[in-house]
Amino acid sequence: MKAMIPTAILLLIFLSASALASAQPIPGDADGDRIISEAELTDSILDYLDFAYLGGSGSALDLEDLRESAHIHLYYPRTILCANGENVTIYKPINRIIPLTSDGTEVIRSLGAGQSVVGISTDLAEDALFPEFASLPTIGKWNDPDCEMLIALNPDIVLAYGKWPSVEKLEDKLERTEITVIRLNFYVPENMTDEVARLGYILEKDEESEELIGFYQHYMDLIDERLKGVSERQDVYIEGYSDYKTVSSGTGGDQMCVAAGGRNIACNLTGSYPKIDSEWLIAVNPDVMVKSAKDSYENVTEPAIMLSEIASRPGWKYMEAVENDRVHILTSDIYTGPRYFVGVVYMAQWFYPDMFADLDPDAIHREYMERFQDVDVQDRVFVYPT
């Protein structure tokens, strides 16, 4: 029995600490419903004036908390639809964020909320794109976080993909805390604008999200407008990271292909990422091929080898795309994620070189990185041939 006492005390301390970490009361929320009603705000204002100016001796919020209470009354709660179809409500300003994904982190930085990031996944800590976060505490893998570590960092929200980590690995373990899980993908081009706007809304970064959306939408609209005059679309084969695996309708790669004016030859195949038969592809004989690669390259050696291997696949060297040097490598940095629009501009140029000769995707990429990411674009190979 005696031996159990220290354990019990430690457990009590842990639970108390967890409660302290997760209990972030909203100032002036007298009834604890997380909403500042007009009556609650009025009472808080009068209590403050009474205490500060009328010589009253009752309790009152200090001015900083009162201002926060007024802000919350006016602007909260805020509800958004997440990528998993669930509505999620935020009741007060978000000051502490743990993003699990690089896509989400990139958008957070674009919206100017990087200073609110208090912890990251181990994957992000190793990502050269986010050097400023490398020294932050890590909370495990993006798809399997250590929720005890996560809770200890006391975030307001955790930003995750729509499907990953599973509910069992995340929401279920955060059930007794005030931490809200926000699930937004940022890898489906078709939903990018909505998701950026939703994140901007809950972060009170509406203007920043409008600016970001306006920036890339300008190029998407420009491409769309010019393509209206194209009656015959180019047939395109998009190959994923794995050889012979393509993308069908509704995937990010398909959406990019279509946005750039291509006709995805695999759009009607079964499954999102179907494996194709080489003979089938030779028979279809697409005009252009785009191979997606996992990461950008330090130099052209690797992508050149990859391209040569594609060209030397049995029977492929007589395909039009190979014969006409219209096989391109597009790296994941600008494929389907927040920078998908850069990839779309490259694709539009590959599909219709004359029509989009005036666009400079490299310059667009650089402008985005400098203006929205506040970093110089890395000196790496993002497409090949360049």
Binding site: A3, I5, P6, I9, L10, L12, I13, S16, A17, L20, A23, P25, I26, P27, G28, A30, E38, A39, L41, T42, I45, L46, Y48, L49, D50, F51, A52, Y53, L54, G55, G56, S57, S59, A60, L61, D62, L63, D65, L66, R67, S69, A70, H71, H73, L74
Partner: protein, 162 residues
């Protein structure tokens, strides 16, 4: 050409202060013999607190502002103002009550000032205290209790190992 440049400079100098004019003005009008209506008008303020101080010889009669948004203490009247552009109250005075003073605190910005203009100085309207005597949030004593428990646990574990 010169006149346009002059006009442009004048606009640059004058327009921003006009656009950013934040504050509370006071207008007093006689509504009956020895009775006056005092109207406080907010400019570019959505949520604020206002405290009016009546001088000797001026008596507060009432207000059209919702009762639960007003608190009166002696010669001082506090108003909570949310999403309204004016507050009106009535006073009794044997003459025009020109020496009413007041302060306002904008609760959506860091602005505050004197009603009618000017910064809050070292007058009687300076806050008597700057922080609350008992914060409404947090768990008082929680940290202390936790610390005591930690010390106790360490002590007990230490004893167990010796």
């Amino acid at each position: 050409m010169r006149i346009y440049i002059t006009a442009l400079f004048a606009m640059l100098i004058l327009v921003p202060p006009i656009l950013c004019d934040v504050g509370v003005d006071r207008a007093v009008s006689e509504v009956a013999p020895d009775e006056f209506g005092v109207t406080l008008t907010t400019n570019n303020i959505t949520i604020c607190g206002i405290v009016e101080t009546l001088p000797d010889g001026v008596t507060y009669l009432g207000t059209t502002h919702p009762e639960d948004q007003v608190r009166v203490s002696g010669d001082e009247i506090a108003f909570s103002v949310t999403n309204e552009t004016s507050v009106t109250y009535q006073v009794r005075s044997s003459g025009q009550p020109d020496d009413i003073t007041g302060i306002w605190v904008d609760l959506l910005s860091n602005e505050s000032g004197m009603v009618g203009g000017g910064e809050i100085g070292t007058s009687a309207h300076k806050p008597t205290q700057t922080s609350s005597p008992s914060s409404e949030h947090g768990t008082p004593g929680f940290v202390a209790v936790s610390l005591i428990l930690v010390v106790l646990a360490v002590y007990m574990i230490g004893r167990r190992h010796t």
